[in-house]
Subunit: 355 residues, 2 copies
């Protein structure tokens, strides 16, 4: 690509920022341009360790990244509690916003981010990598196929990992002042997105959290699950946890087909990912599952960055409007996150989900 | 095996009786001896089509099978609503009882069956084939292994099949007067047994049915699901249905390992069955799943018959007492079935499970 790549500034040096720095390097229409941290030395070290070019700008704070006129877009991996402030500021400074998930502490906060992005005409996207893997497009084909899959009846999703003692004491994801949504916002986000994806982004009517979620002493969710209900007997369940072995699973049942993926949020291998389907009708016919393999040159997070930069480029160059789809998906996911949290707080009553 | 095989009488000519007739033929310590149906001609046809020896007794009713002094054991595939009467009668006639699942319409009925079996000293076993597959023993080793699996945290199980229009209008499993427990008793039984198996048969404290089960016009469950809770954040969920594509799934999450089986209740192939495990600790280490294959000479239902006949033989020959384990597993499964049904009937409130 000979055109000028989109120049990224990164706010903060979180672990996930390492993954995204590499993704920006791998993305053909993107380039690492600046990094800001509350500590200049930390930012410098981060840039050195993560392949930033020698010309990259190193800032000892976040605001200087936003004030740099050559930064096109920012990637914001800050703790969730800081998203409102910094995503809004970024939009106001005319920077396009690639924001880590969960996008906000609740949908009211996210609506302020949306407004800032819309008023300022900047592109928004959240950091849900797997949406951009070509495998996802292939799986979408399957669940949309009335002959192979039929109508979706139910989907179950799991995302858990065993955080371990150090994580459970120290990680920002278990601190109420930082990532107050805990496992629900971190890994539950992926489960909810998978469920919405399977339902072609139709919101459930009601959400009922499972009794007995595990909270830490400060009230942050370490493990929870929920039941989601649509009309006509369509349902979903999910389980998210920091307390059990790494499992990243999705099983979707249609009237005539079944889809299974065991690494939906992040494939075991970067260049090759698989999923399994079974299509059949009736009780007695039994067919072996079909194993589908999808190859890709770019890791999914680099595909995400590439798509984001493509959208930014067309706004910058062509006067296109921002693609609103990504805001919509983020908002629906956040609405369900909020409903699960509300159900937990309301004694596991069913909560209506209203767009 | 040169010893006299256990002589089976079969009550009724249900579809599943074809599978069990073959299993009895394949089982080295068992033999087909008699069949009874309300129609003599139907019984005769069944015997001819299912490999009964020419000497087999054909009866035009059930009671004559029980009155035949040469019948050692009966297999009872009658509709659930008839289990109480015929299992009790069989026990009273000193016949050992292999009873199809669900074992009864409720645990109160089952307790009468238990009492009849205990008073008459006959062996009882229900027809949950997969308990007897050698794969199950290998999976038990895995979930019992604190190094590879750790402590069980949660398990999700699915058993569904798309019954189709004819099934949904005509099958005994959708008739309130015959198999009143519908999908819950038929396929939900397997999910509940899988969950109890993973928890080493510890009963859950509470059961909460999911809202919005699908019932037919006569109130029989066509689809439902439930959440089960133990102490210390241990949970399970299941989904059972006559309305979506054949899916027979179990995913168990331990603190350091995960078990997945995609055909737990009946393997895709008779002589070879597989399961998948992942064992790892922590957040960043990622290992590929291990695929385990277990081969067997006998299909699982023939292994079941063989084990049942072995127990019967040792009672007959050696004066052993009946093995009480199988009654216990049936009763626990039925208790959970009853609790799910009670929760559905009580507006999806949590129901305490009491042994």
């Amino acid at each position: 690509m000979t055109e000028t790549p989109i120049r990224f500034g990164i706010l903060g040096c979180a672990g996930i920022a390492r993954t995204l720095s590499r993704a920006i390097i791998l993305s053909p229409n993107s380039t690492l341009y600046a990094v800001g941290s509350r500590s200049f030395d930390k930012a410098k070290k981060f840039a050195a360790e993560n392949g930033f070019p020698p010309s990259a700008k190193i800032y000892g704070n976040y605001i200087d990244v936003l004030d740099d006129p050559d930064v096109d877009a920012v990637y914001v991996p800050l703790p969730t509690s800081m998203h409102l402030e910094w995503a809004v500021l970024a939009a106001e400074k005319q920077k396009h916003v690639l924001l880590e998930k969960p996008v906000a502490l609740n949908v009211a906060e996210f609506d302020q981010i949306i407004q800032a992005c819309e008023v300022n005409g900047v592109q928004f996207m959240d950091g849900t990598h797997w949406m951009h893997h070509p495998r996802t497009a292939k799986m979408t084909e399957f669940v949309s196929d009335t002959h192979r899959f039929g109508q979706l009846k139910t989907i179950h999703s799991i995302f858990s990992f065993a955080g371990g003692d150090y994580f459970l004491k120290n990680d920002i994801r278990v601190k109420p002042g930082l990532d107050g949504l805990g496992a629900l916002g971190d890994v539950g986000w992926y489960c909810i997105r998978a469920i919405l994806w399977a339902f072609d982004y139709e919101l459930p009517k009601t959400v009922t959290a499972f009794r007995g979620p595990v909270l830490n002493e400060e009230g942050v969710i370490l493990e929870c699950g929920s039941y989601l209900q649509w009309e006509e007997g369509k349902t979903a369940t999910f389980h998210c946890s920091f307390l059990s072995n790494l499992t990243v699973d999705m099983t979707a049942l249609g009237t005539v087909g079944t889809l299974q993926v065991h690494d939906f949020a992040g494939p075991y291998e970067e260049k090759s990912a698989s999923f399994t389907t079974v299509s059949q009708i009736g009780l007695t016919e039994r067919s072996l599952p079909s194993h589908h393999v999808v190859t890709t040159d770019l890791p999914q997070e680099a595909s995400m960055v590439t798509e984001f930069s493509r959208l930014v480029k067309s706004i910058k160059d062509g006067g296109s409007k921002p693609e609103a789809k990504w805001i919509s998906l983020s908002r629906k996911t956040q609405l369900v996150v909020d409903a699960v949290k509300a159900s937990i707080e309301n004694g596991f009553e069913s909560v209506q989900v209203e767009a």
